[in-house]
């Protein structure tokens, strides 16, 4: 896959999170590319089934495109963390550097980087969420135990997951993956957030405040730094 395809998909990932579908003018503005070239590229991406695109309707990512876009975004943000936390590079420069490096970063190295950085959850410059990996683990503990050999052997997640902090009120999800250290994981397990448990977001608050969820008949308030690290499979009802 070409670097430019990856860049386009990554841009779309960010744009469609803000508002779906994304307009071609927004893409051209974000990537600083002429609208004509964007339109041309969108036709190409649509042909390869990465995006759904019809003129004047805007662009959405297909599940296939979304997976790649999310992975690129993850690599980008992990790299930003690495550059910032380990190499002490300034926040004004990490984005550009990461943009260049992300296309060369293998999945294996990305996993090692995630482990070395102790499963970071946000990027340093704008605090955006680092998406979950696509490996079939339910917690970071298992990933650490798996060791470094044969990363290809690790089974992938069957369906894509979203962070609990991205769910809207009354959306439901099945607990799939909890990122972070064991203490938080244990507390959440004790409260009933075991894998495949159905939860419903009953209240989201403004200003990055907590979310309230219904789980096993009880209601829990989870602060943003907890909720953002709980990943669920969306349940569409």
């Amino acid at each position: 896959m070409s670097t430019s395809t990856e860049e386009y998909l990554e841009a779309l990932y960010n744009l469609t999170r803000e508002s779906e579908p994304a307009s071609t003018s927004a893409i051209s503005k974000r990537l600083n590319i002429t609208p004509a070239s964007v339109t041309e590229m969108m036709h190409k991406l649509a042909n390869e089934r990465y995006v759904n695109y019809s003129p004047y309707q805007g662009v959405t990512l297909t599940p296939k495109g979304y997976r790649i876009a999310e992975k690129m975004t993850r690599k980008h943000r992990l790299l930003e963390r690495f550059l910032h936390d380990v190499l002490k590079i300034g926040n004004d420069r990490v984005h550009k550097e990461a943009c260049e490096m992300e296309h060369a970063l293998s999945d294996e190295t990305a996993r090692a980087m995630c482990q070395a950085l102790k499963s970071p959850d946000s990027c340093p410059d704008d605090g955006q969420l680092i998406p979950a990996c696509d490996l079939g683990f339910s917690s970071c503990e298992e990933c650490r135990k798996w060791g470094q050999d044969n990363p290809e052997k690790i089974s992938k997640r069957k369906s894509s997951v979203v962070s609990m902090s991205d769910l809207k009120e009354n959306q439901e999800g099945l607990i799939s993956f909890i990122r972070g250290d064991n203490n938080v994981l244990r507390r959440l397990l004790d409260l009933g957030l075991t894998p495949d448990t159905k939860i419903k977001v009953s209240r989201v608050s403004s200003l990055k405040g907590p979310v309230e969820i219904a789980c096993r008949g009880s209601r829990l308030a989870l602060g943003d730094e907890i909720a953002r690290n709980v990943f669920v499979e969306k349940v569409t009802s």
Binding site: V184, D190, T194, P195, S206, G223, A227
Partner: protein
Amino acid sequence: MANIASCHTTTQKKIPVSRNGKNLTVALAGNANVGKSVIFNQLTGSHQTIGNWPGKTVDSAKGFLDFDGYNITIVDLPGIYSLSTFSIEEIVTRDFIACEKPDVIINVIGAPVLERNLFFTLQLMEMDMPMVVCLNQVDLAESKGIKIDAARLENRLGIPVVPTVASRGQGIRELVARAIKTAKSPESVIETRPVTEGVPEELPAPGAGRRGRRGRHRRHRRGARFRGGIDAGLTALTALIDSENLDLDYPSHWVALKLLEGDTAITDLVRSKSPDVIAASESLAKQTEEVYKQPRFAAVASERYALANEIAADVQIQAVSKPSFVERLDRLTTQRVFGYVTSVIVIAGLLLWTFTVGNALSTLLSDALSFFQPVDPQISGSFWSILWNGLFGGFVAGVTLVLPFVIPFYLLLAIMEDSGILTRVAFMLDSAMHQMGLHGKAIIPLILGFGCSVPAIAATRIMGTRRERLLASFAITFAPCTARTIVVLGLVAVYVGIGWALALYAIDIIVMFAAVKVAMKVIPGDTPGLIMEMHSFKLPSLSVVLKQTWARTQSLIFLVFPLYMAGSAVVQLLYVYGILQPVSDFISPLTVSWLGLPAIAGILLIFGFVRKEMILLTMTVIFGANLAAVLTPVQLIVLALVGMLYIPCLSTVGILVKEFGWKSALAVSAANLITAILIGGIAAKILPYIV
């Protein structure tokens, strides 16, 4: 923390009650907010003692009950969700059950959240103790359309289940009767139909247990079951533990399960006695992680919850009910906009109530007490008369200036806490608290700080880490407590204007935020996230509210009062014998030159260290009633400002030392002092242009 798993090394003292005959020990265990305290109060009435667990910062309540000729000691264990050793409360509970071996455990569970409560019940059952389940809050469950078949639940669990509505005393007698019966003959209380009926026993994996003697164990282990041969492995591990004769205080199959979970305390204990057992348990854990594709502790939790879910679904019927009026009101309290309005109303209402009621009570009490003797600080006369004046003055100050404000404040706060409204405020203010390196739950100790810093700092124990507790306590040392309010009102509101008094309040709160933000950077560590149960709104229980109010007032009477009395006497004597003057002269460059205050200010501030409102009282004694004649408005404001911010009072330093040690207490005091000098100096330079 290695010793926590062993009863032989624990510091807990044994309850001096003989095990046979008519003396029984009953432990109350359960989740938070299931009405455990209400039941405890119902059972014991006023025969209670509240203290700390030996060597632990966890409240323990013990009470006594005479019932049917039995002398029953009832121990209220902390409200927890699990028996892992994640928190000190969980350790205390586990140690108590394993080491003190109560005659029977009453497991209080909340009917509205049956499944989550059963998760804890299953863990208690694993410990193989005589046990009765108290199915409480059945009325609350019914109002949500949840009906629970208690007989069926009893059957499924194989232990007695008594439905209760503790707030109305329903079912309490039966609960006690069945608990006694269970304690007396644990085996014959109920015809047991095992929880896992229909699940065939698996054979042990070949070679899993070298010296397995399965025949000795009960055929049906109650509790969670595992797939993929793990169950058989557990049975074999249990047999191995038995055959090793490890002399543990815990049942073997419970130890096996804890080893499978990877519980550090139990693992360390067993490792010191038998490495073989550890080798076997580690290999079983590895197998479990492969079968479940989850960490070992997660696999165990998942299976427990799976069983809890299955039992709950079997015994309860959930009717679809329309949200009640209370539920709709509840929704409103966390609504994006209205939630903030509610929070402001709650906090403002609390303060308004405190000052209205407090003021009335204070006037009443001081009139009554000044009848005996005037209580203004005496600064001349004989040694004995000054000593007496100081002691009595300190006492009167406690009774007339602190208690009348603090008790109504704590009363209303406890009502808000027990009803659930404060939980909503914590939810709404979580992100604001994050600015100070704290999370939403810190709002409770912070609000307490508006009454008196001492119980507020004690209340920071609800926070998880030492860092959070220290940050919250630091914030509290700046909070405008009752005594500070008196100084601000007496100096500024009376002589300069109410607007300036309010401005000082605002400045104080801004300084509090800013200081904690700085401290947050200095003290290393992360801000842990909020994990909090939002229990439903309920009518507060009078007994719980009164108990909570008393518990908080207690620390005030036992710590603040003696310090008030002794401190006042000492500082007055020091003044009379001329010891304070040199100190005051020494710091005069600071007080006079930098802060622009009269020379006497040094002495006032030393007095104020004992009790902040002494600043005001001493001044009235020295200068008479009209302070405006001696101090300029700017001086009054600066003095009040410095008085608010500088070193926390003697009692606060006392509790800081008690909770965090000398070093931290000194650091906090120094930080306060520097802040006060800085802000006070700036105010002294700027204010002349404004006032």
